[in-house]
Amino acid sequence: MPGKLKVKIVAGRHLPVMDRASDLTDAFVEVKFGNTTFKTDVYLKSLNPQWNSEWFKFEVDDEDLQDEPLQITVLDHDTYSANDAIGKVYIDIDPLLYSEAATVISGWFPIYDTIHGIRGEINVVVKVDLFNDLNRFRQSSCGVKFFCTTSIPKCYRAVVIHGFVEELVVNEDPEYQWIDRIRTPRASNEARQRLISLMSGELQRKIGLKVLEMRGNAVVGYLQCFDLEGESGLVVRAIGTACTLDKLSSPATFLPACNSPSKEMKESPFNEDPNPNPHSSGPSTPLKNQTYSFSPSKSYSRQSSSSDTDLSLTPKTGMGSGSAGKEGGPFKALLRQQTQSALEQRGGSPHRFCRRREFPFLTLTAFPPGLLVHVGGVVSARSVKLLDRIHNPAFVGIMGNTRSYKLLDWNSFNSDEPETRDAWWAEIRQEIKSHAKALGCHAVVGYSESTSICEEVCILSASGTAAVLSPRFLQEGTVDGSLEQRVEENLPVGCGFCHIPYDELNMPFPAHLTHCYNCRKQKVPDVLFTTIDLPTDAVVIGKGCLIQARLCRLKKKAQAEANATAISNLLPFMEYEVHTQLMNKLKLKGMNALFGLRIQITVGENMLMGLASATGVYLAALPMPGGIQIAGKTPSDGSYEQHISHMQKKINDTIAKNKELYEINPPEVSEEIIGSPIPEPRQRSRLLRSQSESSDEVTELDLSHGKKDAFVLEIDDTDAMEDVHSLLTDVPPPSGFYSCNTEIMPGINNWTSEIQMFTSVRVVRLSSLNLTNQALNKNFNGLCENLLKSLYFKLRSMTPCCLCHVNFTVSLPEDELIQVTVTAVAITFDKNQALQTTKAHAEKSLQRASTDNEELLQFPLELCSDSVPSHAFPAAKEHPESASSNSGTPAAQRATSVDYSSFADRCSSWIELIKLKAQTIRRGSIKTTVTVEKASPMGDGNFRNRSAPPCAGSTVGVVKMTPLSFIPGAKITKYLGIINMFFIRETTSLREEGGVSGFLHTFIAEVFAMVRAHVAALGGNAVVSYIMKQCVFMENPSKNQAQCLINVSGDAVVFVRESDLEVMSTQQPAVNCQPTCTGEVTT
């Protein structure tokens, strides 16, 4: 009996009226864990019941503790009929299972009902007593910590990074069971919520076991996803990076280790294969490798996945360019040989990493200093699959309340079935691995997987960045032992990762290499695409910006195999187009590298959508990007020529404008110094455009837009014209705004503490059925651009600010519907400081390092001294344009007491314009102060003593949420555990709830509230690495119905303001870092 779970139900408040006659409720609570249920007494006639129950004790296996959620149901007692459910609370007790996290869960939880939403709150206390488990064959993995954060969490140090862990659990979807026809929607939704909660618990436990097997103690970059496959079932899958983490007890001890990360860097390209380029012909595409394998059914799958035929569909994508400089080549090759032999000599210890782990993947996007040696480029693979009913007889008909509902994963149950989800993913991962190998890289970082499902077709996608890692962290044993034979001396700061990992003489693709503009020693490609965050030591010129490629392709409606084939055929074109767009836009911005690239392909009934987001930057190490050249096809007509030159001018102007906007002014470097041929700027070679109708061209697709400096766009038809136009229609964000989809904005480093996380959802209905690709593209473009514009407008009071981690998700819920969901965080920054820092590069990289990343947060005391944001935020004064109408927000948020008269002065300036009625400017309230401390002493005079209005004493603490792994201006002192929640909301009175917008708005607000409540109950005050993984919305307006499923996750943390930290450290080495969040105003 390894664990005792104790639960106490304290009280409820704001309950709904369940008895119309008395306008009151007779509430009681059922507490259920596993098969055991306890009940409280009925608290008669109250909307704020005080149960104050005894401790309900559950004695359970720790396996169950990990899998099962604690289920609390609030009911209304009814003497004559069945008791009515008010709502439920599911509490994941996992955070209580590891020693360092939370010790108690205690607080107010919203009572949630899948039909009515939040209905009041309940105060619950939960504790767990764990006994020592001596069973060696245990099934539980208590103690393994999970983090959503895709970097080493702030208060930990990575001892060893073990590698990739993955697991997958399959079940039938309760929504599609026969019983669903006879049960209520509520029962069905609850069954689903409970099932998914169970499945994710189990999944986490299994992953934990794998980690223990690898002798790790934590999973970082844990990403869990659901595939709602409909009829064929429900898949819960997760990937992560197993690590051994050390808690940093005293930050100061690690100071020396981080002083000069560059010196410890080692280049050790340890490949499994001495020849880094095994497939020189087929799928060996440089920076983006794609595979489209289509397996219509079990029988074909083997062939298609491994055959070369489908690989031949693969377009060659390339970022590099043809003219490979020969200088330095032999030297490098020599080095490589030496390395190889050296590696072999010492028993191939790095190989161990590769061999032991089937897939050398890391889900991390930011790395401890020295880990990332080289970056090869983006590798990706996609595969189209037909979904089959998950054959799993054990589940039929036992979905009730019985205990028998142990989940089995697909593999163990159907080990003889070749066509499993596991195999599908294994296939794709294999593909990725070989692509990485082709790039001369032994590892893939920033790795992620996703699916898009429409009816019975499913696109599986995986992508990552091929990289060479230093073995330092990857194996157990000494960090600085004798393992390293060769240390590349003086690896320059900030450019090492740009240097090509592949062999220059034996390049996997035609690339255009030049000497690194930073160190002048190694070769670099002309453009770099990656899925990771910008390394902290990277030298960047100017600021970064969000770059998106958007694309729609119509597709005929088809069934099953025909459908899958059609999709497979379309995919290469989409990839190509998306890639071209990204490239064009990058050049238009005058930048040369993309970080955080995420390409999402969504499949719908009659179309495919592609959306790629990335953050463009100018890396100082890479060559200056060439411009874009427009070429007309038939240079006969004079006016046409004129038109072309007009366009050309516009493009050139845009590039110039962008360079100014993003402050890209690289130092001029003369050719001689670089010593590599700078290609003729006028050299034109035509780029093959993909024509959708001629499929034979596919094989000739050449995505390596190399071979020339200036990028040539050929305008040979209206389509192309449109494309050029759309390039120019992308509006830059209004002044004061920046945006990026990475953790931090390159070039901005002086964040102030105000943050605002938000989710925005838009669904548009396409107007007509006979749409063209072109119109579709335009619509989609417009949708995304408008969405961004709306965000800028809404957040205008926060300027200057940056939208970070902008995450777009596209789905096609129905025939003519496009749904776009955006989650991001707006962070304010100090404008003045930003301007200063961009001037000096060296200084900048230092400061950057101090603000952003993990290793430096190991010594926060140093940190706060130089990066505490000066709060001299130029509120309204410096921005007169915003002062009149919208300055209220920052001012009000900063001030603890709000003087209404100042509001009135500022706001009324325009209000007066529009208000013709003078009398509506009212007396009275205008002149008062809000805080009572101020108001009551004065002016009370002969009045009787007044109690202060409880305004100031709000009991609800502020919980910040952010998709980033850090909180600006604060230090994370404790990780409390992972938050992973799944909710379903359904309504049969859509109109009454304010239509689809009202329904979803409320639901998302409720989801935020439930996340915050759980974090607060754990004792935390923020969620970092927050992500909304799924937001599936379905409506049926004619029936007045709608349903929505949302899955969110993140890490619950405790943070302390750096300013408070300073105070504390001067007073005493306070152990109890109580967050002071009541006065906080943001997010």
């Binding site: 209004p734 108001a935 997010t1083």
Partner: protein, 364 residues
């Protein structure tokens, strides 16, 4: 391409004060968008009309969701759905309960019933305030009234505690509740020159001095618990006021009073002769008002009477305010020198308040 759904949800609920004001003022989304466009916001921000429309819709939806909570402000503080900084919460509440002067003058002293609610159409037309805004304000009055009407203890405290209003606004609401409960007539043409502030001032004085709560201790008589401490006038006090009648009924007393006042004020008033000639009329007016307060009907007409019997005669003789003040002071004080008069405390309780009220009411 039509937008089916368009939402924005922040972890901290975004509140745009300008849009809030438009919403409170009862404008429809389209009107609000038009007004915002006219304010020049598009030029300032470079946004499009579509963006503005979407933004306004979003805010309206948020406000609509918040409205339920604003009906019981403590709920807004404890709810978990919207994360709003305390200062913003206070602003939301304060603004929601803030009312228009023009509107409050129309309903002050009226019964807050369905009947009055039906008249809101007319009030809206008359005042130019949208019907929606009128409804909100009326419902606010009624809601506050319902909650505090039966409550014991300080009216202002009760309002503040249950609605978390600022001190100022809570006092205004106390006046509104007090007026609604006692149904003081404020709508007569004669009274049109008075502002809500004038009435609120008087209400405050009356609550302090003329109600049960003003006596200072809770009445021991169990029956009197039926009376609310602050909302109802002290019935016993009103009954006793009849005793003051002797001041005008007894001719000697009246003459003595007059001579005392005249002696004291001779040479100090610019309108001395007018005062001298009018003294008896004025005194009769003031005392008769007191004597009549036993009847509910006359209580309702208190302000009409005060204006008719005192303010108007003085105004027609062009008394400056300073003279009115001197006169009223002397008029009240001189009674203490009347040996035959035994109701000095009663007189002070009555006249102290009345003097304050009259001075406030005396203007153009």
């Amino acid at each position: 391409m039509t937008s089916e759904l368009d939402i924005f949800v922040g972890n901290t609920t975004l509140i745009d004060e300008d849009v809030y004001r438009l919403w409170l003022d009862g404008y429809s989304v389209n009107d609000a968008v038009a007004l915002r466009v006219r304010s020049g916001i598009l030029e300032q921000t470079g946004a499009t009309a579509g963006v503005l429309q979407s933004d306004t819709m979003d805010h309206y939806r948020t406000f609509h969701m918040l409205e339920r909570l604003l009906h019981a402000p403590p709920k807004l503080l404890h709810q978990l759905i919207f994360q709003i900084p305390p200062s913003r919460q206070a602003l939301l509440i304060e603004r929601y309960y803030t009312f228009d002067e023009a509107f409050v003058r129309e309903v002050l002293g009226k019964k807050l019933s369905k009947g009055t609610k039906k008249d809101l159409d007319d009030i809206s037309t008359k005042t130019g305030i949208t019907l929606k805004s009128c409804r909100r304000q009326f419902d606010n009055f009624k809601r506050v009234f319902k909650v505090v009407e039966e409550m014991r203890g300080s009216l202002v405290d009760n309002i503040q505690q249950h609605f978390l209003l600022s001190d100022r606004l809570a006092r205004d609401y106390a006046a509104i509740v007090f007026f609604a409960n006692n149904r003081f007539e404020t709508g007569k043409k004669k009274l049109q020159y008075l502002s809500f502030g004038d009435f609120a001032f008087c209400a405050e004085l009356m609550i302090q001095n003329w109600t049960l709560g003003a006596v200072g201790e809770a009445p021991t008589d169990p029956d009197s618990q039926m009376d609310d401490m602050d909302v109802d006038l002290d019935k016993e006090f009103l009954q006793d006021l009849k005793e003051l009648k002797v001041l005008v009924a007894d001719k000697d007393l009246l003459d003595l009073h007059k001579s005392l006042v005249c002696t004291a004020l001779r040479g100090k008033l610019s309108v001395f002769s007018e005062m001298e000639t009018n003294f008896k009329n004025l005194s009769r007016g003031l005392v008769n008002v007191a004597a009549k307060l036993t009847h509910n009907k006359d209580v309702r007409d208190l302000f009409v009477d005060l204006v008719e019997k005192f303010v108007e005669p003085c105004r027609s003789d062009h008394w400056p305010l300073s003279d009115v003040r001197l006169f009223l002071n002397q008029y009240s004080v001189s009674v203490h020198s009347l040996d035959g008069f035994r109701h000095q405390t009663l007189w002070d309780r009555y006249m102290g308040t009345l003097r304050g009220c009259l001075l406030r009411l005396y203007h153009d």
